[in-house]
């Protein structure tokens, strides 16, 4: 992004960002805001739709947690009437998911002012709740406490795409002392319009930020290589794959939590009800009988086949698995191979066509 501006945080960066959002509403730059907020008695910030500037002081835009992926909701709301512009505070993986959903007609990007959040990672929901009990200002502390940062969700630990792309406005936290200042970055277009409304003055980007980003990236890259080589090895045989997914309960949580799995109802969950009993008996007659509910391996492979090209690496699938199958690790591994083969990167650009629709006549088999 070309323009960068520092804002004073006075010890509460979340509050400072909330105030910017409130000003966007007041200036009528947007008519609604999508942002995480914990409403008592709950302590876990969840995606919330607000359109009253006064309500913004209760929100937690920087909370290091994503109850669910906000992409699904932002996409859904964006399909509303064209007069209503919405500012959505989204993590990088959520923006990528939003871009994928846009290609599938599930989102209307024109209606959104996308505010991207630099993301050092998110805590698992339960961890956040537990830590909240021990730390009064968890949202603020997280950004300076390396110990807290080391407890982020397992998928986030090997995420290298932690800088938001395709956003209009970025909230910058890396390499900054959030107790003093946070950064806002933007490019020409809607982002610049918003920056003007917020009276942000372009300034010098602190050099420290580049170093912080590089160091985080190299740390993540080695973690990612390790995760991928481990799961690559495990899943590359039928027994290895089974060792990971054989105890799948068939709850379909991973599919429902996945922000890019856009089907109203998964073909596999429907088939669970429509099993051909005759066929099941035939299969049961083979050595070892058949595992029930049937179709679980097919379910995971179908999701890989359908979504590997679109996987944005958010890790929600792993987070919601009741028996801790490393679904996201498997996906990350297969997605890397698939996206490389198709020369595609999920969420890279809204203009990039879905690879399965590219029926080029060129080339051979």
């Amino acid at each position: 992004m070309h323009n960068f501006s520092l804002i004073e945080t006075r010890g509460d960066a979340g509050k400072a960002v909330s105030m910017l959002l409130a000003r966007l509403l007041e200036q009528n730059m947007v008519q609604a805001v999508i942002v995480p907020a914990a409403v008592p008695p709950s302590v876990l910030p969840m995606t919330r739709l607000l359109n009253n500037p006064a309500d913004l002081d209760q929100t937690s835009p920087l909370a290091p947690v994503a109850g669910v992926s906000a992409a699904t909701q932002a996409a859904k709301i964006s399909r509303g009437p064209q007069e209503i512009k919405i500012a959505a505070v989204l993590r990088p993986c959520e923006i990528r998911a939003l871009v994928e959903l846009h290609k599938l007609n599930q989102a209307q990007l024109d209606n959104l002012l996308v505010i991207g959040l630099e993301c050092p990672g998110r805590l698992e929901n339960q961890d956040y709740i537990d830590l909240q009990d021990q730390n009064q200002d968890l949202d603020q502390r997280f950004y300076r406490d390396e110990d807290l940062q080391s407890r982020i969700a397992i998928t986030c630990r090997s995420c290298i795409d932690f800088l938001p792309e395709n956003a209009h406005l970025n909230i910058c936290v890396l390499g900054l002392d959030l107790d003093q200042q946070a950064g806002i970055a933007w490019d020409e277009g809607p982002g610049a319009d918003a920056a003007r409304a917020l009276e942000l003055k372009p300034g010098q980007e602190p050099g420290e930020r580049g170093r912080a980003v590089d160091s985080l990236r190299s740390q993540r890259e080695s973690a990612r290589e390790e995760v991928m080589s481990r799961s690559r090895e495990t899943i590359s045989s039928s027994s290895g794959l089974q060792s990971m997914i054989a105890h799948c309960l068939g709850c379909f949580n991973c599919q429902r939590a996945c922000p890019v799995c856009f089907c109203r109802e998964c073909v596999c969950s429907r088939e669970a009800f429509e099993q051909n009993l005759e066929m099941l008996h035939t299969r049961a007659g083979r050595t070892g009988g058949i595992r029930l509910p049937a179709g679980m391996t097919m379910f995971h492979l179908t999701r890989l086949a359908h979504m590997a090209h679109a996987c944005v690496g958010c890790g929600q699938c792993s987070s919601v698995c009741p028996i801790h199958i490393p679904v996201a690790d498997i996906f990350r591994t297969v997605a890397a191979a698939t996206q490389k083969e198709l020369d595609y990167k999920a969420g890279r650009s809204p203009e990039e066509p879905i690879p399965h629709l590219n029926f080029s006549t060129e080339g051979d088999q």
Binding site: S236, L301, L304, L342, N358, Q365
Partner: protein
């Protein structure tokens, strides 16, 4: 949309060696199946472990059909469609091609080497090519041996 399974019982070749290997050939009705007809008419033999399944178009071959074949114990899946430009439905074969390109890395990741899935363009008049392609594919599968998923009875 008849997808009849046929297994040519062929005398004179040694079946016992690869009796347990299964090769499914998913072929398009218009070109490759016509080529198979022609191969039959001209009495060309193709390997006995190949079973032909006829589809109206390779473009209707869902990725799940391919997964299903492998989970069900197929050792190789052969897809035969029209040459680019020949598709009865204009671009079905190209859809198959990009779909196969997308599913190959998935299969490879879970232990099904890419050689076990092959796409060939076989025109309606190419009975000979059908025979050659099926034979060479069956030979590759024979060298690879049974698939890792064979006998797992997974669904």
């Amino acid at each position: 949309m008849n997808t009849g399974i046929s297994r040519p019982e062929e005398a004179g070749t040694d079946n016992s060696r690869h009796k347990e290997l299964d090769v499914l050939a998913l072929v398009c009705n218009w070109c490759t199946y016509t080529a198979a007809d022609l191969a039959g008419v001209t009495r060309l033999h193709y390997p006995a472990q190949v079973r032909l399944i006829r589809f109206m178009c390779t473009g209707m071959i869902d990725m799940r059909y391919i997964l299903s074949c492998f989970l069900d114990g197929a050792d190789g899946v052969f897809i035969g469609g029209c040459h680019p430009g020949d598709c009865h439905y204009l671009t079905g074969n190209l859809k198959a091609r990009v779909r196969i390109k997308g599913i190959r890395p998935v299969l490879e990741s879970v232990g099904i080497p890419p050689q076990r899935l092959r796409l060939e363009w076989i025109g309606a008049s190419e009975g000979k090519k059908l025979q050659e392609d099926l034979t060479s594919f069956a030979r590759v599968i024979e060298q690879l041996g049974p698939s890792d998923y064979k006998g797992m009875n997974l669904v």
